[in-house]
């Protein structure tokens, strides 16, 4: 069992960070929301509509909840632009010209002008992440499900990516469900941080980050940030220790 009696409420347009040790079941929860995994009991609703419950254990994957995967799932055989255009192109909701225009615009906004015709394998991993996020946002999803998207990046790139994500968020105001093991990242980005227990996971503590948005890198040295880190560090460390002793395997 990966998740046990987990209850969580996320408001519209909120960034909710899920922090927990490796292997605790966070990805399983995300997969259930996305529709890749079945639930055994309880329910998941989106804007009041039931995605899945005991009667319908598996949600239908759809473009209202788009996942950005841990190791990246940009199609290596398509150019960056083709990747970004993929969602609307498959669904056929806009004309080709409209799709291209929107894609070029969003890529420029995200600082990706100039790499449209490159393949994902040719650009840096930070850029790949951004392309993937733009690819998701092209479909106007209600929720962005991010599964440790910055895990593989070095800390210098990471800090830049955080600010880039916030910039994108301020323009699009999509609800974000962000899984991470990095507490600093969680407090910096999130409105709400849910600290999960080890497997089977449930929220051990949910705190609201009262640092106002828009935030920038200066927040990391602010007094309030330090206070929040102190409050939560011990809880996270406790769970990490339990996970380590239980010998959790990485997902």
């Amino acid at each position: 069992m990966a998740v046990d009696h987990c209850s969580l409420d996320i408001a519209a347009g909120e960034i909710c960070m899920i922090v927990g040790p490796s292997g605790c079941g966070k990805t399983t929860l995300l997969n259930a929301i996305a529709g890749f995994h079945e639930i055994t009991s309880g329910s998941i609703t989106l804007d009041g509509n039931v995605l899945c419950n005991a009667a319908k254990p598996k949600a239908d994957p759809g473009s209202d909840r788009i996942v950005v995967f841990q190791n990246g799932a940009l199609f290596p055989w398509k150019t960056n632009l083709e990747n970004v255009k993929f969602g609307p192109a498959m669904r056929g909701i806009m004309s080709k010209a409209e799709i291209t225009e929107k894609a070029l615009g969003m890529m420029a906004d995200a600082g990706l002008a100039g790499v449209e015709q490159n393949f994902p394998g040719e650009v840096s991993s930070g850029m790949r992440r951004r392309v993937e996020i733009v690819r998701a946002l092209m479909n106007d999803p209600k929720v962005l499900l991010l599964d440790e998207p910055y895990r593989a990046l070095d800390s210098l790139t990471k800090s830049v990516m955080h600010e880039a994500l916030l910039e994108i968020y301020y323009k699009n105001k999509v609800t974000i469900f962000f899984i991470t093991h990095d507490l600093e990242e969680a407090i910096f980005l999130g409105h709400k941080v849910a600290i999960m227990t080890t497997r089977p996971c449930k929220p051990k503590k949910v705190l609201t980050i009262d640092i106002p948005h828009p935030r920038d890198y200066g927040v990391l040295t602010s007094k309030r940030f330090r206070e929040l880190m102190e409050e939560t560090e011990e809880i996270v460390h406790e769970e990490a220790l339990k996970a380590f002793e239980a010998g959790e395997r990485e997902n």
Partner: protein, 302 residues
């Protein structure tokens, strides 16, 4: 803070999830296609040839080693191959020679085409549909070890003409190689790609076209290179038995007529033509997978 458009509230109430997460198959992409990117070292290749030819010359004509001295020597073969009026009737100046080459090439072309056109779609569907795999794969695996030689009697009964019989026999081994490699190619695709495509709104058929087919390409082309070699392999055996034109026939006929230099000419020609046709498949593969070529050129830089 309040939000307007673009947001949605998400509630998870008392959810309990069971079962293990399905582990995604990590791909083991074959880097054969990338070898072309290494800057060619023609000098080493020439040195390799020189050493081989030198040994042949030395063993047969100079040192006259026990078994080797009965073989046709390097100078004899080269003189024959390049002479305007060859003693044994075959050289680069005789039309007969090219007739043999073209007939073999034509047969290989047909067998490669048929085995590819049947094998690739079958492999794709075997990888894509679990039901089909459960239904068809056991039969497939049962037939796969049966070599073309064992099919000769069946082939004579089933096919009216010698030519179609030969074609059938030469298609067998390449077909199995292509199908198997294609199927493995599909299975090697990381499931994250398929999930991503699905949540972006692609239908099952769109996932097949935009994810499965391009994703399996590296394995497909590995299979095609192997199958090209198998086409030649199967062909020569068939030609030796069938008794009309072709490089295989030329070799066995030269043996019967005691024109030994022609055997070596035939073998060398097979080598050159086989290398060239495999090279063509590789070049086609590189063209269709430009994304991979560019990625490998950068050393897979992240």
């Amino acid at each position: 803070m309040s939000s307007t458009a673009g947001g949605a509230s998400l509630r998870a109430r008392g959810t309990t999830l069971g079962g293990r997460l399905k582990a995604s198959a990590v791909d083991a992409l074959n880097f054969r296609a990338g070898r072309w990117l290494r800057s060619s070292k023609p000098y080493l290749a020439l040195l390799g040839f020189a050493l081989f030819l030198g040994f042949w010359y030395y063993a047969v004509e100079v040192a006259r080693l026990p078994r080797f001295k009965d073989l046709p020597g390097l100078t004899v073969v080269v003189r024959e191959w390049l002479s305007r009026s060859p003693v044994y009737g075959l050289s680069i100046f005789t039309p007969e020679y090219y007739k043999h080459i073209l007939i073999s090439l034509e047969r290989v072309g047909w067998s490669f085409l048929v085995s590819t056109l049947v094998g690739v779609p079958l492999g794709l569907f075997l990888g894509w549909s679990r039901t089909l795999k459960e239904f068809a794969f056991p039969i497939f695996e049962l037939f796969r070890p049966i070599p073309a030689l064992a099919w000769i009697p069946m082939s004579i009964v089933l096919f009216p003409s010698t030519e179609s019989s030969i074609l059938f026999l030469t298609c067998i081994a390449p077909f199995f190689a292509t199908t198997l490699n294609t199927m493995l190619g599909v299975e090697s695709i990381d499931s994250a790609y398929m999930r991503a495509a699905t949540c972006l709104g692609a239908s099952r058929w769109q996932v097949f076209r935009h994810v499965i087919v391009p994703g399996a390409m590296p394995f497909i082309f590995t299979g095609l290179e192997i199958s090209m070699g198998l086409c030649w392999f199967s062909l020569v055996g068939g030609e030796m038995l069938s008794g009309n034109y072709g490089l295989g026939y030329m070799i066995i006929d030269s043996f019967m007529n005691i024109s030994y230099p022609n055997i070596v000419i035939g073998m060398a020609t097979l080598g050159v033509v086989g290398y060239a046709t495999s090279g063509m498949v590789r070049i086609l593969g590189n063209y269709m997978m430009r994304w991979r070529m560019r990625e490998l050129a950068l050393g897979g830089r992240s």
